[in-house]
């Protein structure tokens, strides 16, 4: 089974994030990491490879420094990577990103495309379905469990009401939630091996594409004013009563 895992480099969500002067996500500064959910996708791909054989390819679209995240991903165990990078892609919108990733996916022969359910920078949750739409294949999103039976994929996904079981034939795109597995840490051997794994760098021209204007534009960015810390009381035996009083004053009770 040949698997492609989509890995996006994002600004570390544990640090302050901002938009640059051009109102696109500031990606140049230090503190870029693999989008957390994508680590779960890598883990799932490696488990499937261990069970059924085949290859695992990492696919990233991002600036030159996304190469660091690609090496980190490869250190976990995938075989090779494709890095789509091009000046013209800076500030790309989701629609145009999906055009590029779909074109890159057409150059590899994947039975399964695994990705994270969402990225922490955009949180748009749209990529899996956009890719499926472009490639004419199924998208099974938000998987907390994935089983493979020959050319049939079945996932269990959580819903607001409970959960549902959804099935589709390969090839398909499957996005995973962080409940699906526990990603492995790269071993020292893995880190050394990753340095020698092939990474193919491609431009949009290599994919037969031409630059496109983004389909949406940010007009203005306002950082949220910091919340002014409110009243803090130390419980001296009446903390609960004071809490109830506060809620009553706010008409919550």
């Amino acid at each position: 089974m040949n698997i492609v895992v989509l890995v996006k480099q994002v600004p570390d969500s544990g640090a302050a994030r901002t938009l640059g002067a051009d109102l696109t996500v500031e990606r140049a500064s230090a503190g870029n990491v693999i989008n957390e959910m994508d680590e779960y996708a890598i883990e799932e791909a490696l488990k499937l490879k261990e069970a059924y054989g085949g290859t695992v390819t990492v696919l990233t679209m991002g600036p030159a420094h996304a190469a660091e995240s690609i090496r980190k991903a490869l250190a976990m165990g995938p075989d090779e990577a494709v890095h789509v990078t091009d000046e013209a892609l800076a500030g790309s919108c989701a629609v145009n990103t999906s055009t590029v990733l779909a074109a890159a996916l057409r150059t590899v022969n994947a039975d399964l495309v695994l990705c994270g359910a969402e990225s922490t920078d955009g949180r748009v949750q749209v990529m899996p379905h956009m890719l499926a739409e472009r490639l004419g294949i199924a998208a099974l999103t938000g998987a907390r469990k994935l089983t493979v039976d020959g050319a049939r994929l079945t996932v269990e996904r959580q819903t607001d009401e409970g959960y549902e079981v959804v099935t589709a034939p390969t090839p398909a795109v499957v996005s995973v939630w962080d409940t699906i597995n526990e990603p492995r840490y790269p071993s020292f051997k893995g880190i050394m091996a990753a340095k020698k794994k092939p990474v193919r760098t491609v431009s949009i021209a290599d994919l037969g594409l031409t630059p496109e204007e983004p389909t949406s534009a940010v007009l203005e960015f306002s950082p949220r004013p910091p919340r002014s810390a409110g009243t803090k009381v130390v419980d001296d035996g009446a903390g609960g009563t004071q809490l109830a009083g506060y809620l009553a004053a706010g008409k919550f009770v």
Partner: protein, 309 residues
């Protein structure tokens, strides 16, 4: 005036009424419904048309048939905009629709102006942007608890949609839907009051304390990732970066430290209240009212006091 399409998820949620309210400022409101429709409710909030798609493919297959239905309607009526809920499904329909129409999209909007410009929450609540679609019509997903729904009676004309769904739309088949009991509490992402428990709650049995306070306030129950990972409460109630995003009128954090990834899911709440025994807990930086104390004494006392009122 051009139509504005509002895509309705099963059951007419609160966010649907919010979208209808926003859409009235943008054009003539038309609701798009899959399966059964509460037409009366949609009319009450100003829908002058209701399009109903009842092809069983919509029920049996994930997302793709719905996107096909909406795309074909867009081609037919050339609406001024399409609004969808910023839920997983709403965003997924929007994504496919954008590709089908070669059109931009905006997600996580908290407001949409008459000209389709949207105000979006970015970086998990640490900022907002104003944006617009620059290719095609505004396709915008709207977050729950963004505006106050206001009624405006209309008598909707109901039109059945007859859309041919392609074979490739039917690739992902739902084989089973399992409902898990969730009691009478409001839906977490739409609730106006949320009471959440963290690792400080200690164990699963103690979560009844969180539930009791939630029930007294008529709110939903949430949990931090540490509480979920420790098995205190089911994952579907997790609030934060890898859980639900909530934006209630009141958020009560019990035994939650307030890590940045937890804040990501709740910092746009209107009022934040915290109980934590550590005076240095970062949650106090954003709490409008904080009690430094043991939740096992503070919460029962508060609950008793509320019962008395």
């Amino acid at each position: 005036m051009a139509e504005v399409l509002v895509v309705v998820e099963a059951g007419v949620k609160k966010v649907t009424l919010e979208m209808l309210t926003i859409a009235r400022g943008m054009g003539d409101v038309s609701a798009v419904v899959f399966g059964d429709a509460d037409t009366a409710k949609l009319g009450e909030y100003g829908a002058s048309k209701v399009y109903v798609a009842s092809d069983p493919a919509v029920r049996d297959h994930l997302v793709a048939p719905k996107a096909t239905v909406v795309a074909s309607l867009v081609r037919q009526v050339s609406p001024a905009a399409v609004l969808l809920a910023s839920t997983q499904e709403g965003k997924e329909i929007a994504g496919r629709l954008a590709v089908k129409l070669d059109n931009g999209l905006l997600t996580d909007a908290v407001d949409v102006a008459a000209d389709g410009t949207a105000t979006q929450v970015v970086f998990a609540g640490s900022g907002t942007v104003r944006s617009r679609v620059t290719r095609g019509l505004p396709i915008v997903t709207v977050r729950a608890n963004s505006v106050t729904p206001s009624p405006s009676a209309a008598d909707p004309v109901v039109t059945a949609l007859d859309v041919t769904v392609s074979d490739s739309d039917k690739l992902a088949t739902v084989v089973e839907r399992v409902a898990e009991p969730k009691g009478a509490r409001p839906e977490l992402s739409e609730a106006s009051i949320v009471v959440s428990g963290g690792r400080g709650v200690g164990n699963a049995a103690n979560f009844t304390l969180v539930e009791e306070l939630a029930d007294l306030l008529g709110g939903a129950v949430g949990a931090s990732r540490a509480a979920v990972d420790s098995g205190f409460y089911p994952h579907q109630f997790q609030v934060g970066q890898t859980g639900k995003t909530v934006s209630p009128q009141l958020y009560v954090a019990l035994g939650i430290s307030g890590a940045i990834q937890h804040r990501a899911g709740m910092q746009t709440s209107k009022t934040i209240v915290a109980v934590n025994k550590d005076p240095e807990a970062p949650i106090f930086e954003l709490a409008d009212f904080g009690v430094v104390g043991d939740l096992f004494t503070v919460v029962p006392q508060a609950a008793d006091e509320i019962r008395k009122r």
